[in-house]
Structures are given as C-alpha cells and as structure tokens.
Symmetry: C2
Subunit: 368 residues, 2 copies
Amino acid sequence: MNAAAVVGVQLGDRSYSIQVGSGLLGAPASYQSLPRGSGAVIVTNDTVGALYAKRLKAALKDVYPKLDCVVVADGEAFKTWQTLKEILDGLIEAQADRSTTVIALGGGVIGDLAGFAAACYMRGVGYVQVPTTLLAQVDSSVGGKTGVNHPSGKNLIGAFHQPLAVIADVDVLESLPDRELVAGLAEVIKYGAVADDAFLGWIESSLPALLARDKPSLVQAVTRSCHIKAPVVASSEREPGMRAILNFGHTFAHAIETGTGHGTWLHGEAVGCGMAMAADLSARLGLIAPTHAARIARIVAAAGLPLRAPTLGVARYVELMRMDKKTEAGQLRFIVLEGPGKAVVRGADAALVAATIEAFGGGAPPRL
Amino acid sequence: MNAAAVVGVQLGDRSYSIQVGSGLLGAPASYQSLPRGSGAVIVTNDTVGALYAKRLKAALKDVYPKLDCVVVADGEAFKTWQTLKEILDGLIEAQADRSTTVIALGGGVIGDLAGFAAACYMRGVGYVQVPTTLLAQVDSSVGGKTGVNHPSGKNLIGAFHQPLAVIADVDVLESLPDRELVAGLAEVIKYGAVADDAFLGWIESSLPALLARDKPSLVQAVTRSCHIKAPVVASSEREPGMRAILNFGHTFAHAIETGTGHGTWLHGEAVGCGMAMAADLSARLGLIAPTHAARIARIVAAAGLPLRAPTLGVARYVELMRMDKKTEAGQLRFIVLEGPGKAVVRGADAALVAATIEAFGGGAPPRL
C-alpha cells in the first residue's frame, strides 16, 4: 500500500514531505525520492529495532547498498549527551560521510537523538524520521527540533535540523503499549482544540475506533494533525509566536511532569490533564463558554487520559510553571482558548490560576 | 579608536559585520549594536584569558550587567567533545538562557568550540567572535564553521552557525608568538593568490611591516582578507564550489599535517608550503607561467614560511590526500591557479603531482 496521504512542510530549499499510511515502512517506494549518497545508517533502540529493523533494512537495501545500524538503549533516561556520543561514534565507525543519510527508527527519543547526531556529524548530514509512536508521528518527528536532556533540564542541548522526509506508518502502532497510544492521542486532541473544531468533533466521535487502532482512523488522525502542524512549523521560523499555540496544555503539563518526577506521568498524559486545565482557565478568563471547557475535559477523559492533577499544592505549581522556558520576564503566560479551534497566548491573574489548580484537585497539600 | 574598517557578510537575516582596527577589544562602542538579552558569557582559554579577559569584561560590563566567564585549557588538544561539554555545563551553571550571548575570546580553537557550544545550547544562541590570532582574524572567525575534533579526524563533529559579529582587534596580535604570526600570514597570502593579484603585490612589499606588527599594515591585511572571504561565505551557502577556492594549498597541507602528526607543523606553515606546491602544480598543468609559481614560492619564503615539504614519499602523500574530505569519488582534486589572482578546482595527472612532491623534497623515502 502506498501513502494514504502526503503532507508537505514548506521551508524553501529545506522543504520535505510527511508520508502517512499503512505498509510504508517496509515498502522500498517510500524511500525512492531520498538522495542516494554513499549509504545510510539506521539509528534505533533495542526494543523498536528488534521489531522493525529487519523490515526497514529489507526495504532500504535496494536504495542504499551500504547500510549500517546503530542500536542504543531504549528510554528517555538514555536521551543523553553520552548516547549522542555513542551514535556519533557509530557514524564514524560506519565511515559515514557528508552524503550519508541517517534513518531514525523509533519514538521521540530516537528521533531527537538521531536528528541531533545528524545535525552535528560533519556539520550536518541528512536524516529521515521513521516514527514508531503516535506521539512521534503527530508531533516530535515534524518540525526539526532535535536534542538531548541535561541533568539541569530537558532538551537544553540541541539543534534545529529539518529531516529530509518523515515516513509515518500506522502499522507500527499495533505494537505500541495502550498507555502510549493514549498519550499520543492527547496531542491529536490538542490540534483539534487549538486549530480545528471540526477535527475535534471528528476525534470525539472516532475515539472508540482510534483506541481500537482502526488503521483508516489512525491515518486520518495523523494526517490531519500533521496538516495542522506543518504550516505552523513553516511560519514559525520567522514567527516563533505561531509555534507557541502548539504548546496548549503544556505549561500545566510541565509542572505535572517535573513535580511528580519525570517518567511518573507520560508526557501525553500530563498534556491531556494540562489541556483540560488550560481550557478551564480559558473559561475563567471569560474567553470561552464553560460548556466548551467541559467538552475538552470530556474528550480528554474519553480518550483514557487523566483528569485529576497531582496534589502538589498551588504554590509548587506556580513555582514549577515559572521555571518553564515559556515563562517570559517572570510573568506566567498560558496558551488559552479564545473559542472553539482558536488559541492565543495570555497572561493570567494568579487567583484564576489557583482556582483552576484547585478545581482539578492539584491544590490540596501533598499527603505526608 | 574606532574600527578602521567594517566588512559586511551578507547572509539575509543572519548578516553580520566584521570590525577591524586597533583598540576595539576594550572599547564598549564595539559591542553597542549587539542584542542585550539577559547577559553574556565569555568563553576563553587560560592563556588568552589571562591577557585579555579583564579588558574585555570592562568593555562589556555596561552592555551586559550579567557577565560570566568560562575558561578552558589552551591548545588544539583540547578541541574535544569533552571540552565542548565543559563549556555547555558552564553555560548552564551561568544560567544562560535563549537570549544570552556567547563571546568567544581566543584563537581558532576557542572560536570553533564556543561557536559550536552556542549552536547547541538551547538549540542555538547568538555568539560573537573576538579572534586573538591572525589566523582566526582572517579565516576561522569568519564563515560560521564551528566544531570539535574526534580521534578519527579533525572537525568531524560540528555545525554551521554564523556569529552575530566579529571584533578583530590587531592590538592583540602584539602578544602572538612569531611563529603563529607567520602562520597567519600564510592565509593572507592565500587570499591574494586566489582572488586579488594587486593585494598579493601589496603583501609582497608589506611583508617587513607585517612581520614588524605595524598596526596599519595589519589592519589592511585583515580587512582585505575579510573583504575577499565575506562574499565567498555568503555565496557558498548555495554554491559550495565557491568556498573551495579558499582551500588553495590545503590539499598538500592536509597531507603534510597528517603525515607529520598534527601539531608538528602549524596549519599555516603547512598551507604556506602547500600553496607553493599547488602553484608549482598549476605551472606543470600549463595554467600559469613558471615565473608566477616562483613568485608565490618567493613570497611564502619571505614571510618566513617553510618551502621544503617533509619527506614522506610520493605514495604516502597521495594516500593522505585521498583521505582528505575534499577528494571526491576517489579522484584527486586540487585548487590550482589559472592566472594571477584566479583559482579553479582541477583534477591532476598522478605523474604531475608526483613531480611537484619531488620538486619540494617530499618524495625522498623517509630516513629511518
């Protein structure tokens, strides 16, 4: 099967396309338009590699007679400077040159690591994203953000480096744990909430099919999400403000993730709860009707995402949100809804923020 | 004293200017047009830092109320992944954010390290080059090439990241060891040889003044060199072939440096000898008169640069040149002169290359 849909990301001479469909990963046709160069190096982790590297290699072997593979450990804990060095050493060992293409096979961690390695190797070689999680397919594989974590913060070290192509094959989502599928749906819901109310309605009615991993529904969800993200990525190179609205729910989510210790909540779970909180705050600011905020919360819950925030206490939430990169000049700023499918960046009164945190159960003092 | 000259590098919204003059490093005016942001972090080494960091800090303190300094060890041996990590940790410790400016105070090693750290920190922050060697002033600080060495090769890991500004103060060349001054002159001679025969004539007559560190002569040499490099850098983003001519002499130089072990010959010394060899090869190819090749060799010698190539043997030279990144599809290619002030990329017959190596004394078997 060929791509069910192709989404273009317009970035001048760095433009690229996202293929979305079923059967793409193992089809040589998916890679035909890539530059041949001197070869390719697949970068993957031990979990995903065991499942899909063989199929990918079979598809790539006619395109790239020289094909190597670098396998790193699985998990966000390995999104480090040290793993980046391992990948760069692997590229050198494979005698990669300036015309080598790096193929990132994995979720967001692999995409960020392999993309950053491609950005640094010989001052930049091309790379292809083959995302294997729903989150990576709808979010992290598109936009060129790459990087590693530092003990002092996530993604502190990295580069903007656009891929040559993104191959989003929904077949690989079959092996995704339920919890990660649900976490990925949070970002899909986000696109509907901030940019396309009709899409939000479609998501609402399609949640049972999406949760059952119905392929046409997954293709539709990924395609529409990428359609919304692509022009934002293209315009945000000059207008970073545009990109901000894609962080809807993320200020609360950042506090939840950091406050509970990274890894306790999945990012998508925190974003799910964070979106319901941001919608609630939007209603408190008088920007949307309380019924619309309740609808966002209902969709979040129906997807299987948590609606109850961890009880860190209001003061701790505010402290954590202040540490967020998106805070400017000390003032807390939020992406809020100003209508169905419309988002905007706004400052918010501390009392309203506190009321939202309390309403979601986050304000009670931590139990000792 | 203000800048004696300002050279513009035209790169759209990444355009910047190179200020060349005397008294620039310690003058607050040199930094007035830089973005303020939240502060600046000086990156330097222990040798240069001891000489100039105090003067630079005094000039910067009114521009950047928050000013930090990261000091690393001096030398090419420290242009490593490990030192890069030290600088990134230093930026984090200084609580640098996306609006922080990195100030690279030092020679090419510091410029490459600090520039690469700036490229990676939070996916890219601005940086300023304050080059303290002649080589860095006329070459490495201009063009945005940054990176670190790897045990398998020089500059294997790095990024293109253009500086916000270059401040080339010839006063700092007073403390430069003679040998490094002479090595820097090799690149100055190169600009004349490949792009401006009138400049080459000026260099020829001005060598005594340049070697005596006459400031107006140094300002003229740096300014004219940057004037020649700037449009090549600007055009080479789309036409990498243009940038190649600035590698005149570098294919032979690469073989000399690698064959003798990096650090035995200074890069500029190898480039000096390499240019004389490339000019000789140009004459053997019938592209220029033997008298012009002899003139290049005479200027190289008058600058105090070596004219006798190390006796590695012809076969070893060819092997080393094949390993050079500039070799394409296995064929040896050289930047050769096709007239006074005119360079071009050409393949060359192995017999002619061997004759050139022999003529410069490089062909004799190594003495055991």
